[in-house]
Symmetry: C2
Subunit: 224 residues, 2 copies
């Protein structure tokens, strides 16, 4: 990611104190971006409105974030950095159920859901947004993989299990319904996705195998 994606350390200023003015500006700008994208969507998002809401100068926003797409990308980066408490029930299936239940609850909640929904949709609209989205999900899968790693330690899963694959398997069916097929999502589907992932993990389906050459996704989410 470019320097503009890490506005707490812009290239042309002395290193700011952590939690100093620069970090406060960023927090305000991220909050304003989230509020604006939630209300107006990507098509209605403007640097002017984010400036107005955050109290930052428009010129500052252009200089540090480059524009609307940089603002969206940085809001995702900031979200990825937020602490995210993981369940630790002592049972993989229960841990995965709590994770999918959390995804289900957040995205279908009329108060909580619109912001992440709008942010993900907005990020799909530009290359730097898509890169930030990829990094966001990769970071989340990495964090949540701990539930699988603990299951390996307990002897519940085979040694060599790829924890990120376990988490991806559990959550993919939810994101698929929310952002691709648009089919309704219910608590039972969330539970079933967790149970299926736990079962497959226990059967050793997510153990690492000799590396297959990965095929990079040849198209951007916009199809351009």
């Amino acid at each position: 990611m470019s320097g503009t994606m890490h506005p707490e350390q812009p290239p042309h200023t002395p290193t700011p104190r952590p939690g100093g003015r620069s970090a406060r500006v960023r927090a305000d700008v991220v909050a304003a971006t989230l509020a604006e994208v939630t209300r107006k969507g990507y098509d209605g998002l403007t640097v002017e409105a984010v400036a107005g809401r955050s109290g930052a100068h428009k010129a500052t926003l252009y200089r540090r974030w480059g524009g609307v797409d940089g603002l969206v990308a940085d809001a995702l980066t900031a979200s990825a950095d937020e602490p995210w408490p993981l369940p630790d029930t002592g049972d993989l299936r229960q841990d995965l159920r709590r994770i999918t239940q959390e995804v289900f609850s957040v995205f279908t909640d009329p108060e909580l859901g619109p912001t992440p929904t709008a942010l993900i949709s907005a990020a799909q609209r530009s290359d730097i947004g898509a890169a930030a989205l990829r990094a966001f999900f990769a970071a989340r899968h990495q964090q949540a993989a701990e539930v699988a790693e603990r299951a390996v330690s307990r002897g519940e899963l085979p040694v060599g299990t790829d924890g990120t694959e376990v988490v991806r398997a559990a959550t993919a069916p939810l994101y698929y319904r929310l952002f691709v097929s648009g089919e309704p999502l219910d608590a039972r589907a969330a539970e079933r996705a967790a149970d299926a992932a736990a079962l497959a993990a226990r059967a050793g389906l997510f153990t690492s195998t000799p590396a297959t050459p990965a095929t990079p996704n040849p198209t951007s989410p916009d199809g351009n």
Copy 2:
């Protein structure tokens, strides 16, 4: 879906012969829409360009399809109606592997992938597009559910298995990577998704249970 979504039978004209002029116009317009959306994406798609490419009058396109979003939605509806040969290997896991391999191959193929990728992305941009997308995936899941129904008949899966859930579980991890997380997709991930779905299906995870109240997805894919 509204009448404009089924241009082969517009409300103000006599019922056309199947395969007649009206059906030919529709086929040309769908092909032109696919070509245009592949090259230019949703943001570059215009009724003018579809008219020019298809040879249909602009006024006809506006009258029958309403505009760009109706064109995108109808292209999806036409895709859903296309025959789609299902594997029948006599083994659920192999059938599911062939299905996920097909999804993987199409979307990652440099020649074949860009059109469905662009069409799905474009459909996410309007309400009637999103409705057509939902109907498209529902139709595909319904068709492909036959592989699970045959497995039930063979005694490979428990009676009462929801075949659409089996297919959804197998394909969701692929669509998730392609359209949400943007993480790279490889043939091994496609195989693993099929194997995990087959395992969960055999364990009875996709049998119908007393209906849980479904929570409709409260937000459009655009977050508006």
